[in-house]
């Protein structure tokens, strides 16, 4: 390498800076993992960076016991809600992108604004609506609420990917007598799998991690999703850090697995969803 001294400095300093910061970014989760495997005596010594002498898996048993119904509920709610969001969103995106529609701009604008508005602003009427429909404390009620809140975003993410499919495909298909739904099912969706996966991951992680609606619309432990359950666990295991941390690890497994193994889609969903890149 024949870098000039100042160029080498230009390269080395940022590198050190990045490495130090990266360590700082990993530290909380490292401490969370080690603490979740310690006995209460070990936690009391506060040597948080030390590895546990004997991994105490009983913490996980105890936390899992408290969280398992919540985990089941979360999956029962999140999976169908994600599927419906993506399916309905992709149909709407198909229409908005591939068909000529006089009010497309207005519909689009309405959907974009809806996707960015924080849903906190409709929390009270939404709770009231679910109450009127007798959907409080039901799976259907939460799924319905998540559909209202998340389909605009799903529609937009999928629309950004559908836009990459040339219009001429649709025209050619129509001339050949292809029906609109056949085109959607056999051509458009298979061609846009990366986009649909990205949207599904974005929506899935958002619903799984959601807290406020879950808290407001459910209170029965047999229906309540896992995030409010974790909050309850935190409240009931005060100063039992090893149990709290084990619980936090358990509920994070699902989104972290998605993040690690499908990170390309996670990033592209994030980009399409928030920045419309």
């Amino acid at each position: 390498m024949s870098l000039r001294a100042d160029e080498r400095k230009d390269f080395v300093l940022p590198y050190i800076f990045v490495v130090v910061l990266a360590v700082a970014w990993l530290l909380p989760v490292y401490a969370m993992l080690t603490t979740s495997l310690k006995t209460q005596q070990e936690v009391a010594v506060q040597h948080y960076l030390a590895l546990p002498a004997h991994p105490e898996t009983a913490n996980y048993g105890q936390a899992f016991q408290a969280l398992k119904q919540g985990l089941v509920n979360s999956l029962v709610i999140t999976i169908p809600a994600t599927f419906l969001c993506v399916f309905l969103g992709s149909l709407a995106a198909y229409y908005l992108i591939m068909f000529e529609f006089r009010y497309a701009t207005i519909a689009f604008f309405g959907i974009v604004v809806a996707s960015f508005l924080p849903y906190q602003v409709v929390l009270i009427p939404l709770t009231q609506l679910m109450n009127d429909l007798r959907l409080l404390d039901t799976y259907q009620g939460l799924i319905f609420a998540y559909l209202i809140v998340n389909t605009p975003m799903a529609t937009l993410v999928i629309a950004t990917f559908f836009m990459k499919t040339p219009h001429s495909f649709l025209e050619a298909a129509a001339i050949d007598g292809c029906r609109p739904f056949t085109f959607y099912r056999l051509i458009l969706v298979p061609m846009s799998i990366p986009g649909i996966v990205s949207a599904a991951i974005l929506v899935f992680v958002q619903i799984y991690n959601e807290f406020l609606l879950a808290l407001a619309l459910t209170s029965n432990p047999s229906v309540q999703p896992v995030m409010p359950t974790l909050a309850t666990l935190k409240g009931s295991e005060v100063a039992q850090w090893q149990i709290q941390m084990a619980g936090a690890v358990i509920v994070s497994v699902v989104p972290l697995v998605v993040f690690v193994f499908l990170s390309r889609y996670f990033v592209s969903g994030l980009m399409a969803g928030y920045s419309k890149e």
Binding site: V18, P28, A114, L129, I148, P152
Partner: protein, 290 residues
């Protein structure tokens, strides 16, 4: 167009209905905020602006609003800045870039409830990680109370948000920087401009859209800070970490004053609309151009 329109419209209907319900809820909220609504069911008894006047007379409301503004400033500026700096470094790296990007991005996959549980422990005055670490390095700052200290609690909470969101800023800026033509940098390097000069004199002014996206999205996030407040401090000590969504929840679900609760929602809506509507306009224009 090639397919019959009337038939195709059915595709749009479900999303239109769902989004319609969302807007209907906003209108419902606005109307309810002008009525008396104590207890379980809405009474629809007209109250004019009474809820708003009561709300504005609360010192707690202005405290909350101030906390929201603190979040806006103290959260957005450092997150955006570090995100840009890291993205600039990463854009010059080869293979290691992916690894580093992942390290800064993984908190985005966590729930705020997880982040809050984790950071609440780290900040615990008597047994938290932060004080233990400081003690290990013999930085004895008299064991600060962190989120139990009214003067710094909100800033400690913002640090947790910062930790979670820097990765988002990195990814947005990385995309923006990658989109710039490389000649732009080469010319500057040949002229002998230093790395810092290139970074802030050339790169930063040319990724304005990245800055707009990052700051707007982070600003919208600050409206959603309810979860962190709920899990980390419950608004305390006193009301020192409360923000408007938290006050709304308290007023509506604990005090059962839904009239004032909906009035707070309306204030939050205004707050959000100021950012969301122009941003949506911009995003759509950018989209249509492409």
């Amino acid at each position: 167009m090639v397919f019959k329109k009337s038939y195709g419209f059915a595709y749009l209907t479900p999303v239109l209905v769902l989004t319609g319900i969302l807007y209907l809820m906003i209108v419902w909220n606005l109307v309810a905020s002008l009525t008396v609504w104590n207890g379980i069911l809405p009474t629809w008894k007209w109250a004019g602006f009474a809820n708003y006047l009561n709300l504005f007379s609360l010192e707690r409301f202005w405290d909350n609003l101030r906390h929201n503004v603190i979040w806006l400033v103290v959260f957005i500026v450092p997150t955006t800045f570090l995100g840009f700096v890291l993205a600039d470094f990463f854009s010059a790296m080869k293979r290691t870039e992916v690894v580093f990007r992942q390290i800064f991005l993984y908190p985005m996959a966590l729930s705020y409830i997880v982040t809050g549980t984790l950071w609440a422990w780290m900040y615990d005055p008597s047994s938290g990680l932060v004080n233990s670490l400081l003690a290990a390095f013999h930085v004895d700052v008299a064991r600060l109370g962190w989120i139990a200290d009214p003067n710094i609690a909100i800033y400690c909470m913002i640090v947790a948000g910062f930790w979670q969101y820097v990765g988002f800023a990195v990814v947005v800026y990385l995309g923006a920087i990658r989109g710039l033509p490389t000649e732009m940098f080469e010319a500057a390097r040949l002229d002998g401009a230093s790395r810092v000069r290139v970074m802030f004199g050339i790169t930063f002014p040319n990724v304005g859209h990245g800055t707009l996206i990052t700051t707007t999205m982070l600003a919208i996030f600050t409206v959603k800070t309810f979860d962190l407040v709920y899990i980390m401090t419950g608004g305390g000590p006193g009301d020192h970490t409360e923000v408007l969504p938290f006050l709304m929840y308290q007023v509506a679900y604990s005090q059962r004053d839904f009239g004032m609760g909906t009035a707070i929602s309306t204030v939050i809506l205004l707050f959000a609309a100021i950012m969301v509507i122009p941003y949506s306009n911009w995003a759509i224009k950018k989209w249509v151009r492409e």
